[in-house]
Symmetry: C2
């Protein structure tokens, strides 16, 4: 990939200088995604403040804008695997050469990329020590020690850590870097059936990270013998596709290692019949590469486009104070909007900086990919509305301030009150058509009759004993209500 | 510290063999804390399943029992610093020699311990690359780039990562290891006042980690010029004390770096008067050493003693099924106890393994330091009680099953029902003496009159509109009620 990353410090310095100029003039990206994808990508990750280039080639600084995405995915995945009774651990960064080379196919796959520590201070080490490119050979001697009988199985561990692969092909931020962050799960089972089942359960979690969190469609499947993990039995993966380059990209992998490592590392146990048996193992990992894939799929010529679920800031509120306008009123409205959204569970911020114009701020937050921009100017203030602009499709819509978030109501009085404030309403309902018609009839008047909008698929918990806001009968579901066109 | 860790692979192998024998016979620790503290410590961290020794000296495997302690402290600290608007980032593991050596005093402090990567695969690197012993010199060139004007300040970053210090003095698990996990915060301010203030705010968080989470008393203070951080202005620390060795131990440090690094790395900004100025910087860190200090302070000759707040398992429930006893009844009672405790927010588990005796299980969970053990045998079942045994002082107490956790009630009917089940009750109360007397009078009878026990200092939120369970008047506080001696 051309321009995928700086290869020498000269390139680095040039790139940096160019970036600085752009930053100061606010001109945005110089490369177009369709024209020069590689250059566009290395610009957008820097200008979007995900990455800073570093003075060692292939190493990148992950800025807070990246880390918040990473932490949101991590919170999801970590809770899911804890639910599967997988426990976190931390094994050392360093591997001794003998252990590293124990599994032949495996080390052949990784040997050319292994970084070696040979000195500490001024002294040479007695033997060089490798930095983990992955931790199979780091961990499995201890699996051999910890697993004795069938009651010690399954053994299911995971670690969140950094690994190092000193590749010499073009480094690219997130996608191919010499150090990266990941989780690596390593599990051992008494039977192949259990191992097979887990391989697919984990793959489905990777699928969910891409589809639910990063809004990137992926294909789940099995790798060919040629492409499978070095030393494993079979490899499954989620694969994404980058339309601009026409290239597939491996999103994450879940391997069944079979009994190959068990044989090399003597991971045996006494089964429930008192016979000696060998464990079945899996290993699986996803890394910060996920973020690079998301950038490649969603980004555009204005910058990053972040899916709302992983965006550190989901809504940016920007005051647009024309000369002679009620600046304080506008600022207060921005504050109130942030407060309303924050209370409703959105990650919202206002940009009150006085040394940048509204236009500069629009470009800045577009570059950073914030999913929704809200503008509040004098006209909006007068009309008690805000202007909302979507980052992904630039669609603009004016929204009454009162309707920014729905209001939860439990009683008829609250319902009438919220309706009079022109709000969208979320309420427990008995799900009876007659009651629905009755609500419509009772609210008919100046402001328009209220009707049901929808009952969302994702229903919040409905506590036992909750009553319908309108009929007082036991509620059956949560439903949105409002006036509609 | 004698026996603080294996120095050669021979020692390693011996230690491991000895451990294995002990594990299989279940004999517990061979060294006494008072007699041979060093040997006791290196045994207890292994037998308590916090640590596994590794085949590279000074590196240790952090097992799940350790990681859950680390993650609980991390969740606290991470939320606190995010509240202070400090953002997480991730800088590379590697440092180029030129940058590492930029600050003279600083590098003199760390140089002898720096591990150097000189090869990748079979090839020599053009220049050796250092592994971070700490990240001041890794980060500050970029602070220089990112900070231009006073509006870029303060810049407040933190990272959770591993660092490497290749020390040759006795390695000791958690306390002195060649790789360890920590957080390192690096902040830059326009004024010394802001920096000074943050130094102490962070120190107070370290104080809370030790006192609230690890139940270890520490002293907050300032280091001497001789002991301060290499290259900094002044260092504050929390210091713990290990009575058995009569030694103090540095718990965590919060440094004001002054402007020394700013000078070396040219971290300048234009202040609000348009003048060029230099930033004031802090750096601060706590590491997995915290866990070692906790083990040293609380552990005893039976093993670890974990403070409840950081214990992965706070209550272990052990069935004690004598011959001919109602085994199913006992197992069901154990299950029910775990469920009750879990619902009440405790981390509770039952140990149903059929290949270990209750006595073995007592020793095992004492070794692992679980704060409370609950035993349920035939007599307990008959009396509808459980036997609870505290890990820290071995105090035993029989508790009626119904009183295991208090019940929250909101109405008089719930109150009477809970009281008849011999429960301790937590209820919103109007705080009127007359009502208190009335409750006593109305409950007088066979099972004994209910009175107030106390209103806890730490009050849960009292939602607006909450009524007194007894009088129906607006509630003023949450109060415990029950029968008492």
């Amino acid at each position: 990939m051309a321009g995928g990353g700086p290869k020498t410090s000269t390139t680095n310095a040039n790139t940096r200088k160019k970036k600085e100029v752009k930053k100061e003039t606010g001109l945005g990206l110089s490369a177009k995604k369709d024209d020069n994808f590689g250059e566009w990508y290395s610009e957008v990750v820097v200008s979007g403040e995900l990455i800073e280039y570093y003075d060692i080639s292939g190493c990148y600084i992950l800025r807070p804008w990246t880390m918040s995405i990473w932490e949101i995915m991590q919170a999801f995945f970590d809770a899911e695997i804890k639910g599967m009774k997988i426990k976190n651990c931390y094994f050392p960064l360093f591997v001794s050469p003998g252990v590293l080379q124990k599994e032949k196919d495996h080390i052949e796959g990784f040997a050319p990329e292994v970084a070696w520590v040979t000195k500490s201070g001024q002294s040479d080490l007695e033997v060089p020590i490798a930095i983990r490119p992955t931790s199979e050979t780091v961990m499995y001697p201890y699996y051999s020690k910890w697993i004795r009988g069938h009651r010690d199985l399954p053994l299911k561990l995971n670690q969140w850590c950094n690994v190092v692969r000193w590749e010499f092909s073009n480094p690219t931020p997130f996608i191919r870097s010499r150090e990266f962050l990941w989780q690596e799960g390593h599990t051992a089972f008494a039977t192949k059936e259990e191992a097979d089942k887990e391989v697919l359960e984990i793959l489905e979690l990777y699928n969910r990270i891409y589809e639910e969190y990063l809004a990137v469609p992926v294909i789940k499947g099995k790798k060919s013998e040629h492409e499978k993990f070095a030393g494993g039995l079979y490899t499954t993966s989620v694969e994404a596709f980058i339309p601009n380059t026409g290239r597939g990209i491996q999103g994450a992998t879940s391997h069944c290692l079979g009994q190959n490592f068990a044989k090399m590392f003597e991971i045996n146990f006494e089964n429930d019949k008192g016979e000696k048996a060998m464990v079945w193992q899996n290993s699986w990992a996803y890394s910060t590469r996920t973020i690079g894939v998301m950038v490649m799929v969603h980004g555009d010529d204005k910058g990053l486009v972040l899916p709302p679920k992983v965006a550190a800031v989901q809504v940016i509120v920007i005051p647009v104070p024309y000369k002679d306008a009620d600046t304080k009123g506008i600022f207060d409205a921005c504050d109130a909007t942030v407060e309303t959204l924050t209370k409703a569970g959105f990650r919202a911020e206002a940009d009150f900086r006085d040394n940048y114009s509204p236009g500069w701020k629009y470009s800045h937050w577009e570059m950073k990919g914030v999913p929704l921009r809200i503008e509040i100017g004098p006209k909006d203030l007068a009309n008690e509305q805000v202007r909302a602009v979507r980052r992904d499709n630039s669609a603009k819509i004016d929204i009454p301030m009162a309707s920014l978030v729905e209001q939860v109501v439990k009683t008829w009085d609250e319902f009438v009150e919220a309706l009079s404030q022109k709000k969208m309403i979320f309420a427990p309902w008995c799900d009876e058509e007659e009651v629905e018609r009755d609500v419509k009839a009772r609210t008919k008047g100046e402001i328009g009759a209220a009707k049901t909008l929808c009952s969302p698929f994702e229903q919040p918990a409905l506590e036992e004993g909750t009553l319908c806001f309108a009929s007082g009968k036991p509620a059956k579901k949560w439903t949105y209500w409002g006036r509609s066109y």
